[in-house]
């Protein structure tokens, strides 16, 4: 092992990216970004969704080729890497979604790529288990994980250790951890941190991606902030603070994409009391009124989406009451949509559209009852309704027979929205309504949401994009680890305030979460 110096801050740079540029189509995913990693260092990488963290990682692992820029690993410079090349020179990644096979043993997984062979080129299981045990010992897990255990019987945290062992088995000295804490229950966090510190003391360089800024301060030596594909700053952790990082991550101007917030919230439409869902959501209370936009903020996995699904009967509710129009809410999506309570789900490709069917088929799907006379779907009635909706939502091209998969992302999203608007809803829940769509389509969807409120429809908008929450909501409730960390009124809206609640840095007095005058 190189560089076993006692100090964490040896200046032995093992990875250096300089002037990296990467564009996809028209969007600049990374613009002139430089980044470096030293041996025996934990370097945190932070930024909002879409800031370019993943793109940067994929350039290091060889999944993407940079358009411009130089990657220097050790003493060698590369203009781009191929994935197996990156692996061979010692880069490995521990993804959120583990790359391990649940039905195989720990040892089999650790040496998946290169099983120790004995005579006759057969796998030497004795050596393999011994080596696996040595690796687990380095992580301090030799007593809890047996190399012969099947991976599926391990806890998530233990599976993560197997994944890290896999990285060590390939003698990687650059280890990238993509939000490793996001998948862990809090009681397993401490063990992960001590493992990461152990790796640092062994001289590995670790790139640590996380949304949770308090982890950055607990763990990292340096931190790099990306925003909209640009490098904002690289700082020593001791020289910065939470407020500065949040400001670097989110500081940007609101544009006039958002229609004026002149809607008039009135009567209570839906009320949630003490909602508990299957170990992911605890004691959530919320209320939506007619003509109101309620924003739901929170990091990925904070319970936002689960609550949205629960409201239309798609989640396993353990306890609590959901009251809709003064009565208990419908228990399944069909009954909910008939009662005017609809969810425009996140991820239109897996939840929103039957991709291999036409726009007409998709728009009609939840509305078939409207087109039925005497048990038969009337083509004429359907055609008229669909053509009106296609014109209304301005899908391009306006051809109802177009297959959904051949529409662009923005147009697909408009179709998803349109299919639910056709049901004449009273309460529409939007989960990530504008993810991955272009600015023009976004503005149209915002206008659509505002129009809904004018006609007395209640709207719940869950989003990870803070500007749109601020631009559209009347109130914002912020989720943190399955609970509501706080509620903000329009006068209190700011990205900093939301991020503070969402990252749960409670008691951080230099940036009060409440009462920020706008």
């Amino acid at each position: 092992m190189e560089a076993s110096s006692a100090s964490n801050h040896s200046n032995n740079t093992i990875l250096e990216l300089s002037g990296i540029d990467k564009t996809f189509g028209g969007t600049h995913a990374l613009a002139d970004v430089s980044f470096d990693l030293r041996a025996g260092e934990i370097h945190a990488l932070v930024g909002e969704n879409g800031a370019g963290k993943s793109t940067l990682i994929k350039i290091i692992t060889g999944a993407y080729f940079p358009d411009i820029g130089v990657i220097k690993i050790g003493d060698d410079s590369y203009s781009s890497l191929r994935p197996e090349q990156a692996r061979n020179i010692g880069v490995s990644v521990v993804y959120q979604e583990f790359n391990i096979l649940p039905e195989l043993s720990v040892a089999e997984n650790i040496f998946m790529g290169d099983q120790p062979r004995g005579r006759l080129q057969l796998i030497d299981m004795g050596t393999r288990n011994k080596k696996a045990n040595e690796l687990l010992k380095r992580l301090g897990a030799e007593n809890t994980i047996n190399p012969n255990d099947l991976v599926k019987n391990l806890t998530v945290g233990e599976q993560q250790l197997v994944e890290i062992s896999k990285a060590l088995a390939t003698e990687s000295h650059i280890i990238i951890m993509d939000e490793p804490s996001a998948v862990l229950p809090s009681r397993e966090l401490e063990r992960l941190f001590s493992v990461i510190r152990k790796l640092r003391s062994e001289g590995h360089g670790i790139i640590y991606i996380s949304h949770r800024l308090n982890e950055v301060f607990e763990l990292a030596d340096r931190v790099t902030v990306l925003k909209d594909g640009q490098l904002m700053a690289t700082k020593d952790v001791v020289d910065t603070n939470h407020a500065e990082l949040v400001h670097l991550m989110v500081g940007r101007e609101l544009t006039d994409m958002y229609p004026p917030a002149d809607n008039q919230p009135e009567d209570t439409l839906l009320e949630v009391k003490d909602l508990d869902i299957d170990g992911t959501v605890f004691g959530v209370n919320l209320e939506v009124r007619t003509g109101e936009v309620l924003g739901l903020a929170g990091l990925g996995g904070s319970g936002r989406t689960t609550v949205c699904r629960a409201l239309v009967g798609l989640a396993d509710v353990q306890a609590g009451e959901i009251t809709y129009l003064g009565k208990p809410a419908p228990k399944n999506a069909g009954a909910a949509s008939q009662a005017g309570l609809v969810l425009v789900p996140e991820d239109r490709k897996t939840h929103g559209l039957v991709l291999n069917q036409s726009m007409r088929f998709n728009l009609s799907l939840p509305n078939l009852l409207q087109f039925v006379r005497n048990g038969v779907l009337r083509a004429g009635i359907e055609k008229e309704a669909i053509e009106n909706m296609v014109e209304d939502i301005q899908v391009k091209p306006p051809n109802p027979e177009m297959l959904a998969e051949s529409l662009s992302g923005g147009n697909q999203q408009k179709v998803v929205v349109g299919k639910w608007l056709l049901t004449n809803p009273k309460l529409v829940i939007f989960d990530e309504p504008t993810r991955g769509i272009d600015v023009g389509a976004k503005a149209e969807i915002y206008q659509r949401i505002r129009d809904l409120t004018y006609s007395g429809v209640g709207v719940i908008m869950a989003s990870s994009e803070l500007p749109e929450l601020i631009g559209m909501s009347d109130r914002i409730m912020v989720f943190h680890e399955g609970r509501i960390a706080g509620e903000l009124d329009r006068s209190e809206f700011s990205e900093e305030a939301i991020m503070h609640l969402a990252t749960a840095t409670n008691g951080n007095e230099d940036q009060p979460a409440k009462k920020v005058e706008v």
Binding site: S337, L353, L355, N356, F361, L365, G375, K419
Partner: protein
């Protein structure tokens, strides 16, 4: 297909581009009927006995049993499933009804009640398939395969020799003709039309496509997925029972070999007709084409006396070619 052109009447360019779009969208239909015309045309030129009107009428009549089974199979495959038990369901119905006829001394007054009983048996068996599939979430292939095996055993227990004693009047179902056209061919044309109407113009029919396209999206779109699936298998059982009754009427005896191998043929007809075996795509019109193609092929093979082994080989080739031709690029979905 019910696509109207009236609003493109004025301009020429949109009309022709719409026509191209229409052809492209229904490419598999044009393909299958094109192949039928080619093969039937070729056979008509080279074989004198093929082009006789009575042979043509015969082909239509022979297509009924496979047609009924392929309709049920299409409905199930549209949902993304498969029903391996249809031949055994048909056989169970045929043998049970034959046994009852024999037991009651071929009493013609029992024809209607026993037909209804046969249908009820088919519907119940299909319902069992549907419930097992929706309750266990096991692969439909495995469930229906298991049910098929059980029914095979039941059928062997009912009889291993032909059951005699079917009343003569029952045979009229298959044999009644107006001129050279069998009445049941006309009825069958009506059945195909109704099934087409069902798959394209009813909520349940749309549900089949939605469930086959993505059960998750269907559920989110307020489609009752489990109910749709159970209905699909019930309908499959229903059509299988009709096929069983037809075989009984055609053979005049309860044949322990009823519908042997017809499950495979029905899947071939569906696949050749362009319904995606992954579900959610295709048209019953294509299945009709597949049924006609298989019936014509078998007729031609018999006329020009192709060895039965080569017939199997050629049928297998047809399947592989069809699957290759209709292979649609599919994005891999996780979970």
């Amino acid at each position: 297909m019910a696509v109207t052109y009236e609003d493109a009447s004025a301009q020429v360019a949109p009309r022709s581009s719409r026509l191209i779009a229409f052809i492209r969208k229904n490419a598999s239909i044009f393909l299958i009927y094109g192949i039928i015309i080619l093969i039937a045309g070729g056979a008509a030129i080279f074989s004198e006995s093929f082009r006789t009107p009575s042979n043509m009428a015969n082909i239509l009549r022979q297509s009924i049993i496979l047609g009924l089974l392929a309709i049920g199979q299409s409905i199930v495959i549209l949902t993304g499933g498969m029903d391996i038990s249809i031949d055994m369901m048909a056989r169970t119905v045929a043998l049970t009804i034959a046994t009852l006829f024999a037991f009651y001394n071929s009493d013609p007054s029992l024809i209607l009640p026993l037909i209804l009983l046969g249908i009820v048996i088919g519907v119940i068996l299909g319902g069992i398939n549907g419930l097992l599939i929706t309750r266990t979430h096991a692969t439909p292939f495995i469930i229906t395969f298991g049910v098929a095996f059980i029914l095979r055993g039941v059928n062997l227990a009912i009889s291993t020799t032909p059951i005699r004693g079917i009343p003569k009047e029952f045979l009229l179902i298959y044999n009644t003709k107006i001129g050279i056209i069998a009445v049941n061919v006309i009825v069958m044309a009506l059945v195909w039309f109704l099934v087409w109407l069902f798959t394209t113009r009813t909520r349940l029919g749309r549900g089949l496509y939605a469930v086959g396209g993505s059960p998750r999206i269907a559920r989110l779109s307020a489609i009752r997925v489990n109910r749709t699936l159970v209905w699909a298998y019930v309908l499959s059982g229903f059509f299988a029972s009709l096929a069983g009754l037809f075989v009984l009427s055609r053979m005049g005896v309860g044949d322990p070999g009823t519908a042997e191998g017809m499950t495979f043929q029905s899947i071939v007809a569906v696949a050749v007709g362009g319904i995606s075996l992954y579900g959610g795509r295709g048209s019953i019109i294509g299945t009709l084409g597949g049924v006609l193609l298989l019936t014509i092929l078998s007729n031609v093979f018999n006329l020009i006396q192709v060895n039965i082994y080569y017939q199997q080989l050629l049928l297998g080739l047809v399947v592989l070619i069809a699957v290759a031709a209709y292979r649609t690029p599919r994005t891999v979905r996780s979970g």
